[in-house]
């Protein structure tokens, strides 16, 4: 929050994150097999008398599991404690860089040490606001260097505040309302399934129309075909919803009237920017947001609003949009 906190966090750079860590299990066939089964990996190099462990398992051998991390350093605990206290209690992994120096074989004993490489300034991502923490681990097998593992996590305060959301009557988390699909608009939703926004075009006068209607507003023609939207557009106008809160929506959020490059306008969410940074005339691009297992909806993201440092999730966006 304050610069004071960042100074405090920064002081942990260079301090150990884990010291004298010992893998809970020797490298072993059952764990290799369970990994390969989960990944669907049938590489013969991972079975038989000469088996090596999949190199990407490197971190798995160092995990504390349900027993917790016994090797975690006091510095790491303190750093995480500070972040927790400041409200950044959630954690998500964003980056993993591994270098493999020697294959791991059944029977190898894994030992490791790790250092806190860097702590970022406060960053706001789609998930919420927090700090990135990067650690670098050196992994040894029977005392020999076996690999390095650089890992970046985001410690953050979730942007969504589910506790404030009105719960659905049956106590289950609310899902967005289902679209009403009828024979006049079925083609539109079919398009969405295929990640396309389809615009109706009158085959008599060629005028485009959106939303979907049974007839042409311009000439009254009943026949039509479709044009696929390029996905480019601009914010023609917008509102920010504060109240009332609807189940499955987490105010405040921006609802935009998007003018598509083709000329028609559609209502959708503007995602990837805070609600108070949406502006008329902002260039946006179409994307599709999966709100739950059954529903995907077209939404718009400002051009240049990258999801690169957004910590791997549109989770917050899903509930804010």
């Amino acid at each position: 929050m304050s610069d004071g906190l960042y100074e405090e966090l920064k002081a942990y750079e260079g301090l150990p994150a884990a010291e004298g860590g010992v893998g809970r299990d020797l490298v072993n066939e059952p764990m290799i097999r369970h990994w390969c089964e989960a990944m669907g990996d049938t590489n013969p190099a991972y079975t038989g008398p000469e088996a090596i462990a999949p190199p990407t398992m490197l971190q798995a051998w160092t995990m504390g599991g349900l027993g917790g991390h016994q090797s975690r350093s006091a510095a790491q605990d303190e750093l995480f404690g500070l972040l927790d206290k400041a409200g950044f209690s959630s954690v998500v992994a964003t980056d993993c860089e591994q270098e493999y120096l020697r294959p791991l074989r059944v029977g190898d004993e894994i030992t490791f040490d790790a250092v806190i490489e860097s702590v970022s300034e406060q960053k706001t991502t789609k998930l919420g606001t927090g700090h990135f923490v990067t650690t670098r681990m050196d992994v040894r097998a029977n005392g020999e260097p076996a690999g390095t593992h650089r890992f970046r996590i985001l410690k953050y305060a979730p942007a969504a505040r589910p506790s404030k959301k009105p719960a659905a009557k049956d106590g289950k988390p609310a899902r967005r309302p289902r679209p009403v699909i009828n024979r006049d608009n079925a083609g539109f939703w079919k398009g969405v399934e295929e990640h396309k926004v389809l615009i109706q075009r009158c085959t008599e006068c060629s005028v485009l129309r959106f939303p979907w209607l049974p007839g042409c507003n311009s000439c009254g023609g009943a026949e039509w075909d479709t044009v696929e939207a390029s996905g480019e557009g601009t914010v023609f106008s917008y509102v920010v919803m504060h109240h009332p809160p609807f189940p499955a929506f987490d105010p405040p959020y921006a609802v935009g009237l998007i003018e598509l490059a083709e000329g028609v306008r559609m209502i959708s969410n503007v995602v990837g920017v805070p609600h108070d940074e949406v502006r008329i005339g902002m260039a946006v691009r179409l994307e599709f947001l999966r709100t739950d297992e059954e529903l995907e909806v077209p939404v718009f993201r400002p051009v240049g609003a990258s999801s690169a440092d957004s910590a791997g999730s549109s989770a917050a966006e899903g509930s804010a949009a």
Binding site: A38, N43, E99
Partner: protein, 160 residues
């Protein structure tokens, strides 16, 4: 010519895509196999309480899938040297991730290739990364018929 010889690869070559259905089972099995018991990877209710619409795949599973994508393709003699990934849009149950790869550089001296990998799902890019893999040298003797068939199918007779 060994089919998995790195010299048969050139920058710009594309690997065939691999579709991975993101099932709840895969997410949970991957988390447990990697000894990652964070609740957001197996308990949907707790995940929702933290602002996520559902459980989502952990980074270790993504890492494993990226590694598998590369070694499936280059054959059992291929050796992973480096895997560097960044996560974007989460892998939620019911989605499908499509892994694609493109060779970005080849070093004939040390028999390695660098491959850029992207895993796209229904909401965006789940993972972007770079993998360095050794596919040349004396490991060629290990290359079985299967690898030869896979590789041969992809590169045809083309050699660089």
């Amino acid at each position: 010519m060994s089919a998995a010889d790195v010299r048969t690869w050139a920058p710009g070559d594309e690997l065939p895509a691999l579709e991975v259905p993101i099932t709840r089972t895969l997410i949970v099995a991957g988390a447990i196999a990697s000894r990652d018991y964070q609740d957001v990877h197996h308990d949907a209710e707790l995940a929702k309480g933290k602002g996520s619409p559902d459980i989502f795949m952990n980074i270790l599973t993504t890492n494993g899938l990226v590694g598998r994508y590369i070694t499936d393709h280059f054959g059992p003699g291929a050796v992973l040297r480096k895997v560097a990934i960044r996560l974007g849009a989460p892998n939620y149950p019911g989605d499908t991730m499509v892994l694609t790869g493109k060779v970005i550089s080849v070093s004939a001296e040390d028999g390695t290739a660098q491959v850029a990998v992207v895993g796209a799902n229904g909401i965006g890019r789940h993972v972007t990364g770079t993998v360095t893999v050794s596919v040349g040298g004396d490991i060629g003797r290990d290359i079985g018929g299967e690898a030869g068939r896979v590789m041969g199918g992809d590169i045809g007779g083309e050699a660089s």
